[in-house]
Amino acid sequence: MESSSAKLKVLVFSTDKISDPAIDLAGLLKKHYPAGVYTISVPCSSAIKPRWIIHALQRGFDGVFIAADGTDCPYGELCVPNTANLVAATQIKMEKLGIAPQRLKMAAICSICAEPFVRYMNSFLHDLDTI
């Protein structure tokens, strides 16, 4: 029987040089994750606007996952605090709009982190199912 989390939709913001290759690698290695996971790639995880995240949640996504560059960011070390700041700012806005902040999650995914990505997706969908 299909679990309820299988019907959930998650938008992943990946990064062109770091986490998107890892998501490609997961496919290449046939490491399966739920088909409700969609990806939009951006240059750097600290470039994601809160309005895009909120737009996604308001349009029907159950959760948004930022597959962040972390310390591997080719644009420098400011990426880590800047991404953390945008997540915190977005979660405050989400709360004001009545959206559970847990629907936004962030983790650093490096270009070879195919397996961690799949693990994060499974656990995030599981968590979303309980909200």
């Binding site: 938008l11 690698l25 496919g27 600290s46 470039a47 800047n82 070879i112």
Partner: protein, 645 residues
């Protein structure tokens, strides 16, 4: 807004269409607003399909293009070139990834995967509607390349790059160059041995003004991008500076009290903490192995060139590309695997090759006994069956084993070779070696994966038992003087390069190229190339071919002196901007400056400094900054496409 969009959905042979119903995807999007034509295609990257798309763009006056196929990492530039050939700006093209991120990731969920593909294509269409025409930026490219690994592949890459005028920094982690090839004796399909090939390449390197060789050198950090990598290199102290007469070195080696197994001979012999593997080795001076040296100082008193206080050095270099050519390790059987490490007359192929090379002609002796019968067990550590084991063929081992069997029979008297194989794979001209081995009277038996040979020691004698497929599964047992396990290749141990350069590894744990046929030496990290056996098992010829391919690819990207970068830069809407300056605090490149009159302060972007990271976007309280290619319209359009029904 684009109003005449061409949409093409690729089958990728069956890579996509075996899972995704491509026709259903085309049907779902063909009537979307702005779509002028939607088609499916067997291979969008084929010449025929490309020509068809060019014809459609011109004849139907298309103003934007969406191709749903593989990852943009593979074919973005291919399809941008298609757009350009038809007179369409290449940034009015959007590639949708329905292979790596759809059909391959959800291969057991055909219905869901088809639904996801439809949403992804709709999202791509929504994005391309708002796309704008742009031209790429150009930046100066460093005219230098770093090559990691001075085995024969790395040396070949270095020579090829230097010959086209590029500066090459060739790094070798060990104290001697030549890699694995220096360890091999007579090579198959060649009239040279390993050290001779190494000497020939080293002579060219030494004479080339463009090549800077660093030995005992390791990459410890890197930053930057294609065209301009900043790298830090640590050079370990060799503890020997300048020349010392040969007798001085020899005395220093003989007085050294430390004796350790010699890695060069795979533990068959021992060496001192101050050592040189063979007399003609490069560089032609010994090195001191810090891991084993007790720093007693005995050698220092005999040779004035020995300096135990020598310190490590750090170099900072700037290079345009990095080629990784760090080689392989031989598979190390587990204890007891075919008697390895339990029965002393069981060796691996690399150990046996060293034994053959260091033994004088006439009689082959091992552990005090003359060897007459040698039994070879093939595919040890390769073509294994279980998930997590080495399921790949190591390609070089059948040929090397048979070549060694031929050499053994020529060099030593009274030898019988028995080959227990899983089917011989001496492909191409290497079949001649198989033929020669057969003609010289070698015995060939064949076992299956289900019935592996058994190696046993009884009463001081070694026996190999095999169920031979070639004689209707007859069980046979041979008494043998030596068992040689034909071990394959595995990725280098202790190789932190993958982590540092972020090179993906495949299911075999070797470094992964973007595409084995279409982009065989490129990685997903622009400017980082791979070659040789670090990307998978290869023989010497294949290693040299890929090393020259990496050199050619690297030279092609740097030789014009400029690298073309995406024209993705930030743009400020000065009407909305209040000049608060928050964005200035987050920009890592000082690419934002204050501008505008006193009564209407604003910021502006210094295009030459902006790298397109977008860090300034989310901090603007007025939402006055956009990134070309990632505007609110495009991003929210994509999200709408993913959630539309």
């Amino acid at each position: 807004m684009k109003k005449r969009i061409g949409v093409y959905v690729c089958h990728c042979g069956g890579n996509i269409s075996d899972v995704v119903n491509v026709s259903e995807v085309v049907t779902a999007v063909k009537d979307m607003e702005g779509v002028a034509i939607a088609k499916n295609t067997l291979f969008a990257c084929s010449d025929a399909a490309q020509n068809e798309i060019v014809n459609d763009i011109t004849s139907l006056h298309l103003d934007a293009l969406v191709i749903a196929s593989c990852s943009p990492k593979l074919h973005l530039h291919t399809f941008r070139a298609v757009a350009e050939r038809a007179g369409l700006n290449s940034y009015n093209y959007v590639q949708v990834n329905i292979r790596e991120q759809c059909s391959w990731a959800h291969s057991y969920e055909k219905v869901s995967a088809t639904g996801k593909a439809i949403q992804l294509v709709k999202s791509g269409i929504e994005r391309v509607i708002f796309s704008r025409a742009m031209e790429p930026f150009s930046i100066p490219a460093e005219q230098s390349v770093m090559v990691l690994g001075a085995g024969i592949g790395g040396m070949r890459s270095a020579i090829s790059l230097a010959n086209v005028g590029l500066q090459v920094y060739l790094l070798e982690r060990e104290f001697f160059i030549g890699g694995r090839t220096a360890q091999w004796g007579d090579l198959s399909a060649a009239y040279e041995n390993g050290p001779e090939v190494v000497s020939r390449l080293f002579k060219q390197i030494r004479e080339h003004a463009n090549i800077h060789l660093f030995i005992g050198a390791e990459l410890i950090s890197q930053s930057g991008n294609i065209g301009s990598f900043e790298v830090k290199v640590k050079i370990k102290p060799r503890r020997i500076s300048g020349d010392c007469d040969e007798s001085g070195f020899n005395q220093a080696i003989s007085i050294c009290p430390v004796e350790v197994p010699d890695d060069f001979n795979f533990g068959l012999t021992s060496r001192k903490a101050i050592y040189q593997h063979y007399p003609s080795e490069y560089p032609a001076i010994p090195a001191i192995d810090d891991a084993n040296c007790n720093f007693c100082g005995a050698c220092e008193s005999l040779c004035k060139s020995i300096d135990l206080n020598q310190k490590e050095e750090i170099l900072n270099l700037k290079v345009g590309n990095i080629i990784v050519n760090t080689g392989f390790d031989p598979y190390e059987p587990t204890r007891g695997e075919f008697g390895y490490n339990e029965i002393e007359r069981v060796l691996t192929l690399p150990q046996f090759k060293r034994l053959v090379d260091i033994s004088g002609a006439g009689k082959l002796n091992f552990k005090g006994k003359q060897i007459h019968t040698i039994t070879y067990i093939f595919c040890v550590g390769s073509r294994q069956g279980e998930e997590g084991e080495n399921q790949y063929c190591s390609r070089y081992c059948c040929t090397t084993a048979l070549n060694t069997a031929i050499i053994v029979k020529r060099k030593f008297a009274d030898i019988t070779n028995i080959h227990c194989t899983r089917g011989i794979r001496t492909y191409g001209k290497q079949e001649l070696i198989y033929e020669e081995s057969s003609r010289q009277g070698d015995i060939f038996l064949e076992f299956s994966f289900e019935n592996m040979p058994v190696v046993e020691e009884r009463n001081g004698k070694v026996f190999v038992r095999i169920k031979d497929i070639l004689t209707a599964n007859r069980e046979m047992e041979a008494e043998t003087d030596l068992v040689v396990l034909i071990t394959g290749m595995v990725p280098r141990r202790n190789n932190n390069i993958a982590q540092m350069l972020k090179i993906p590894t495949g299911r075999d744990h070797f470094f992964n190229e973007i595409h084995a046929k279409l982009r065989p030496v490129e990685t997903v990290i622009d400017g980082v190339l791979i070659a040789g056996t670090c990307q998978g098992p290869k023989n010497i010829m294949e290693t040299l071919n890929s090393s020259m391919a990496a050199a050619a690819k690297s030279a092609a990207s740097l030789s014009s002196g400029t690298i073309h970068l995406e024209p993705i830069v930030a743009d400020v809407n000065t009407d909305q901007c209040t000049g608060c300056g928050i964005c200035l605090t987050v920009c890592p490149f000082d690419a934002i400056v204050t501008a505008g009159p006193e009564d209407k302060p604003a910021v502006s972007i210094v295009i030459s400094r902006c790298k397109g990271c977008g860090m300034c976007l989310p901090v603007c309280p007025e939402d006055a900054i956009e990134l070309y290619g990632f505007t609110n319209e495009e991003m929210e359009g994509m999200i709408d496409g993913l959630t539309s029904y």
